[in-house]
Amino acid sequence: MTIKRRDFLGTVAAGSAIVTMPGFLSGCGVQSATTIASATPENPFMEWFGVDQAVIVRVMSELTSRGADAADLYFQHARNNSLTLEDGVVSSANSDVQQGVGLRVVIGEQTGYAFTEDLTMPSMLAAARTAAAIATGTQTVAPQSFNPLATGNLYTTTVPWAKVGVEQKLPVMKFIEQQAKSKDPAIEKVAVYWADGDERVMIATLEGKLVTDHRPMARVTVVVTAKKGDETQTGYSNIAAREEFSWFSQERLSTMVDEAVDRTLIQFEATRPPAGEMPVILAAGASGILLHEAIGHGMEADFNRKGTSIYSDMMGKKVAEPFVTVVDQADIPNERGALNYDDEGNKAGRTVMVENGILKSYLHDQISAKQYDLKPTGSGRRQSYRYAPMPRMSCTFMEDGPHTKGEIIAAVDRGIICETYTNGQVQIGAGDYTFYVKNGWLVEAGKVTAPIKDVNIIGNGPESLKRITMVANDARLDTGGWTCGKNGQSVPVSQGIPTVLVSSMTVGGENVS
């Protein structure tokens, strides 16, 4: 991992494949699990969910009673709190707890799925029986005990969010509001959005694995409205990470506020650039949205398995210049998209999707990996116990290239720099995407000349990847709170990129005569 984390640039993303702001055996009968003693001391997750080895063995046995190629139980407890501070008052406050178990059985191409929020034996057995009905064979031999894998340490916290009361969060929100208001007399309104969450996940698989993961999440967003004369402008910034309360240092918050204010005030000077085809410089960090939308989704193996991705027949072929390497990596400490294990209990790690311009690997969940006869890449994710997993991204970024930001700007005769984004989307099959650029700069004769705002950029993922003609050495992950939506499931993700030059893109600016 050569990418450097930059602590304070954020975008609010709200997210079908959309990212926006503000996831054997066959054989004979099975013994009654209730007679089997626990093979290991019960862990805290088992206690939390009120189950033990014997219960899990019994439910797994029921789930695989008509055969299974794969099966898993996904226990999850998710606790989320949010607060909104607007015009100096707390205008909304919410708390929400969701707990349940998802039961999945996979046989061939078919999946039986059930979930229950009642974690009692009769309810779990009833759910398992229904899911099992998708299969028509005989009992698969289910494990007689589950072997706990070592817990990960990518986002260990000392104080869980459940222990942080509203009386601790409000002063932080008010600090943000005051900082923003004091920055410039033109600032009329400040809104602060707070969200924190704690997730406990326990996964038991047909292979006998038991995986547990405690996943914290923190996000704060500031939205600033400024007025000069009759003109009103709005801008925002946010920061998000798998972190705890102490992560919100004054310095970190002040940097976020500075960004939001700067992005807002610059719009009074900014104009929309002329429309047309032109070279586009993607600024380091948030421009990773291009990789996510235009390339990442196309690399998710479910779309390739079905032959609907434009990258379906491209494995081992050249898709970009030799200095382009694109990676999806889950094991980056405390990143919003980070995961110790994926939601199928596989170790989540680093997958090089494009290496030196050559297409190297898709992102696989267990089903797609089996079909391609490969190991899963730990990319099976789900929004919650209510959903079956599918291949998803985690932290997606491009590695450093041979150029510098200065060299890239100097190489552009007439074009734009895209710096902050509000959202993006892609049609995954064809790879056609659009992004909305909130802030950027005009580049003329190799120099940055004027601020621009409110521009759509439109392109085709594989085409844009081929047109990346320069890559700088300033790669970093964006710290904004991006959320990716796909097939109705939302998951937190991170993205990043160094400064890159796309030789030609369609910029939806203004027509000038």
Binding site: G50, H77, N81, L83, V89, V90, S91, S92, A93, N94, S95, D96, V97, Q98, Q99, G100, Q110, G112, Y113, A114, F115, T116, E117, D118, T120, P122, S123, A126, A127, T130, A131, A133, I134, T136, A162, G165, V166, E167, L170, R386
Partner: protein, 111 residues
Amino acid sequence: MSVDLTNRALEAIELAKAAGADEVAASIRQSRDVTFEYRDGALEKVKDTTSQGLGIQVFAAGRYSSHQTTDLNAARLKSFVAEAVAITKALEPDEFRKNHSRGIVPGQTRY
């Protein structure tokens, strides 16, 4: 059903009052939805979902908010309710919502 749903709702009301709520309404639900889809005589899709949940609506010091949980564990319900009341008190007073005796109806709780 190992969890006595009605008692949990009553407990939630008592817990909220103990935490300083002036008025509380609690609603509780459990439902199961099973779907089998056949095509040409063969089972194509199965889905079985059992949902349960407790919602509370809290009035405290002229403020109102509503909260939901699907986790009916007794110890954790206590902290959930305490937090719900605490964040209600942090809100701006809601002068347009009256907490007269019939002002809060369990059916209003949204999941």
